[in-house]
């Protein structure tokens, strides 16, 4: 029972993770496709060399992550993109980039120190 509950919670949590949404090439392609304008399920499925079931699953993951919503219009279901959550990823990419900027800072300071040791004070 405990295992079932924890696995279930883990899956729920994992599915809501925006990183998981964009980690898959097909899901990224679906996002790209509907970013400009909403598409219905049929036209999305036609674009990919995959079963309708597989596409439906990808769409569901994207929905659970809050990146798309589905609207019923008459007999058709339209997927619409809501990409503000992707900003979360951009923020973490920026943090990761900062990590490397810090390395460059550290390199710059070290080179500066080395220069002073080598050439003394006649060079600034």
């Amino acid at each position: 029972m405990y295992n079932f509950t924890s696995t279930y919670l883990y899956n729920m949590k994992a599915r809501r993770d925006v990183y998981q949404a964009i980690a898959d090439p097909t899901r990224r392609a679906i996002i790209n496709m509907i970013a400009g304008q909403p598409h219905n399920m049929k036209s999305i499925t036609e674009k990919f060399d995959m079963s309708q079931q597989a596409i439906s699953l990808h769409v569901k993951v994207l929905m659970d992550c809050g990146l798309i919503t589905i609207q019923q219009r008459g007999r058709e279901r339209f997927c619409e993109a809501h990409l503000d959550r992707l900003g979360e990823v951009a923020a973490w990419v920026a943090q990761y980039k900062q990590f490397w900027e810090n390395k460059m800072d550290s390199f710059e300071m070290y080179v500066e120190k080395l220069k002073k040791e080598r050439y003394g004070k006649q060079k600034k």
């Binding site: 943090q95 980039k97 710059e108 080179v111």
Partner: protein, 154 residues
């Protein structure tokens, strides 16, 4: 089907800097193990370089020692080494990426670019995510210790 490797913009990073030092000094600081050990790691880290064979196919082994005593092993293979111009290495332990560092002489200064290309967007996302988890965890620990310090002073 889309080609995973066709575009690089979703799996690369570029850092550039103009350094106020001549190119021979910059090159030396980047390529000598005894210098690298002094600047490589994040704040609070120390480094041990057990091997640095600076030539195409040569191995580079660097161990980062974290403030909490954890060791992080890094193995890379140099792909290209052109004196005062370019270093390309492949980081073969996770995360897998190819780094290209270029050096350009600009009078007494040196312009350096540092480009990192991850194998796949998946690898890049995984790395950023791991980093997120890592930084997030550290921030939590910092918050907790600030909170505990606040409790003590009360």
């Amino acid at each position: 089907m889309e080609n995973k490797k066709s575009s690089t913009q979703d799996r690369e990073l570029l850092i550039t800097r103009q350094l106020d030092a001549p190119i021979d000094l910059v090159w030396e600081a980047w390529t000598s193990p005894e210098h690298i050990a002094n600047w490589w790691g994040p704040n609070g880290f120390t480094n041990t370089i057990t091997k640095m064979d600076l030539r195409p196919g040569g191995e580079w082994d660097l161990i980062m020692h974290g403030p909490d005593g954890t060791d992080y092993k890094n193995k890379s293979i140099f792909k290209e080494v052109i004196l005062h111009k370019k270093i390309v290495y492949e980081h073969v332990t996770g995360p897998k990426f190819v780094a290209t560092i270029t050096f350009e002489e600009r009078g007494d200064q040196t312009y350096i670019t540092w480009h990192m290309l991850f194998e796949t967007a998946e690898e890049f996302i995984r790395t950023v995510k791991t980093f997120k988890a890592d930084v997030g965890l550290r921030q939590n620990v910092e918050k907790l210790s600030a909170y505990l310090a606040g409790m003590k002073s009360r």
